[in-house]
């Protein structure tokens, strides 16, 4: 197992109280595998990733429990200097908004080359050559001429390619992509996702794709973890989950998206709003919005029941849900 996250817990201390952002998350990724982490805003999907990468703002954030096993080592027990050596070299991250993640006053060549200078101790000149190679690799036209350009001189899609190049620079074993195509137009989104999938195959990397888009997930993922209020409510291979969801929240999400190939009368809408993380409802966090909720859901928090060997659902009534 490349990455194994076990019972991770993260909270934020704020003036108004403690927000429990991540409440016992378990997931794992193998080399060459794509895990999609699906969730709406506030579900804890990005915070989990930040804790794995070691870039969580602490304070106000605090990791209160769990393990992050990367190639067998628990990253949470390492010193900051050791983590820094792993970050970038062995695991890398691609962010949603390339324009604000790139440094506006450094040329893209300098930013790409910095990876080699800092981690590999290369000279500036060699680093520049490598930067051009990388830009070629992610198919930026005229890489040699554009290596001196600044981020604002590139289009959104090209900037996201530079982010991908930067993440790939040191050939990491794991890439975490946090909404990598959300800010892009559909035609460009397809180009970028294709490139990412191709490079992943080539380098046999593990990929964690964090997204809210059920369409993107269906296109690229091997398995899915659906998050709600800081917990994984369903985890399953991608084909199973779309065929028959085993959690009412997953079912609600799938039913509530309009589809290109179908024109419905009225969309199913999950009633209500996601919970405030400072006041997560007792029992199952989804119970106030759930059409199947019974008394037990308001008192007992459901564990991740084993649906089959590769599938889990945190719903007391997963059998009923699975059967529609």
């Amino acid at each position: 197992m490349l990455l194994d996250v076990r019972d991770l817990q993260v909270e934020f201390r704020t003036r108004d109280g403690v927000a429990k952002a991540v409440n016992g998350v378990n997931y794992s990724v193998d080399a060459g595998e794509t895990l999609a982490v699906l969730g709406e805003s506030g579900s804890g999907k990005s915070v989990t990733a930040q804790a794995v990468m070691g870039i969580l703002d602490m304070p106000p954030g605090r990791i209160t429990g769990g393990e992050v096993l990367f190639q067998g080592r628990d990253l949470l027990k390492l010193k900051e200097e050791e983590r820094r050596r792993i970050r970038g070299a062995e695991m890398a991250m691609i962010f949603q908004d390339a324009l604000s993640s790139l440094n506006p006053v450094l040329s893209v060549g300098d930013q790409l080359g910095e990876m080699f200078v800092v981690h590999r101790g290369m000279s500036r000149k060699d680093a520049r050559t490598r930067a051009i190679e990388l830009m070629d690799r992610v198919r930026i036209p005229a890489a040699k001429a554009r290596v001196k350009d600044y981020p604002h001189q590139f289009s959104g899609g090209m900037r996201q390619r530079i982010m991908i190049a930067m993440a790939l620079a040191l050939e990491p074993a794991l890439i975490i992509a946090d909404e990598p195509t959300t800010a892009l137009d559909v035609t460009v989104q397809a180009q970028v996702m294709d490139l990412l999938a191709e490079l992943q195959r080539e380098y046999n990397m593990g990929l964690i794709l964090i997204t809210h888009d059920l369409g993107v997930v269906a296109d690229v993922a091997d398995k899915i973890a659906v998050m709600y209020a800081g917990r994984i409510v369903e985890s399953a291979p991608v084909h199973d989950i779309y065929k028959a969801p085993a959690h009412p929240y997953t079912r609600g999400l799938l039913d509530s998206i309009p589809r290109l190939d179908q024109k419905g009368q009225e969309l199913y809408a999950i009633k209500g709003l996601p919970p405030n993380l400072m006041h997560i409802p007792p029992g199952c966090a989804f119970n106030p919005r759930c059409p199947m909720a019974q008394d037990v859901c308001r008192t007992d928090e459901p564990p991740l029941y084993e649906v089959d060997q590769v599938r889990g659902s945190a719903c007391h009534f997963w059998r009923e849900c699975l059967n529609g």
Binding site: G215, V217, Y242, A244, S256, I257, Q262, E266, L273
Partner: protein, 349 residues
Amino acid sequence: MVEPILEVSGLVKHYPLTQGVLFKKQVGAVKAVDGVDFALNRGETLGIVGESGCGKSTVAKMLVNLERPTQGLIKYKGEDIGKLSAKALKSVRRNIQMVFQDPYTSLNPRMTVGDIIGEPYEIHPEVAPKGDRRKKVQELLDVVGLNPEYINRYPHQFSGGQRQRIGIARGLALRPEVIVADEPVSALDVSVQAQVINLMASLQSDFELSYVFIAHDLSIVRHISDRVGVMYLGRIVEIGRDREIYDHPTHPYTQALLSAVPVPDPEAREHRERIILAGDVPSPTNIPSGCRFRTRCWKARERCALEVPLLAVPAEFRMTSGPAAHDSACHFAEEKTVVPPEGEGNGPG
């Protein structure tokens, strides 16, 4: 035929690019909208889709008179709104209202919800006399599914979906006939999007509204629209009824756009054909000659660089009455099914 409620012809908006400080001279123009025609019928929803920078939001702003067109006509019930007196224009503006994209920046954080929704009555006092306004605002809150007792709260006390409901209530306050909605759900989470779309659909039948619904999400546009126009670099390249556009597209850009949309069905990924366009959208300051899509089109030939294709039913489909016979601005239009036909996918629901 019944007269359309809103009719747009030859609409153009160019923003001049100038050089020099004291003696400004025009060196070019951003051609945001470059010749758009469409008609909106009473009670119908016209969806306009396109990628960022295609001019769809500029069209929206011109429809509600927030921007003045450089050229072209906007007719409301047959009258050119560019030629109306100030007084007549005011009553037209009352009837065409807008719902904005970002519910976080389009509501004044220092005003209560009651003041925000009631503000249109300050400008058009004839709609609701002073003593009556509070009651009217509470009715509107109820209509959009918010608790009428929230009237004294401030925007920050609401979630994104609730804020968008406030924006919709404000748009409804003057009982308009047309609502122009510019990306009304794109800032919202999936589960909340569905709630707002359902609300807009039910308000349409309750209040007999006509919608111009602008969005980049093709699935949402299909869901809500009767007719759909596809924009590229300031022009409509294809327009027709929703089935015609989604199931029988004839313009290569529409086909590429549709094929790029991820479909939430992993079974579909193996046998779906994807057209991946090369490159980026050209700059609107420097629009390609002839067909503006030719730089990214896999079918482009010499003719495409020389001749601007007109938005009309392509000659080869003119004799047929099938779903491919709709307006498409391409010299080499041909039908191509890119979205798997309905019912073939085995998704849930």
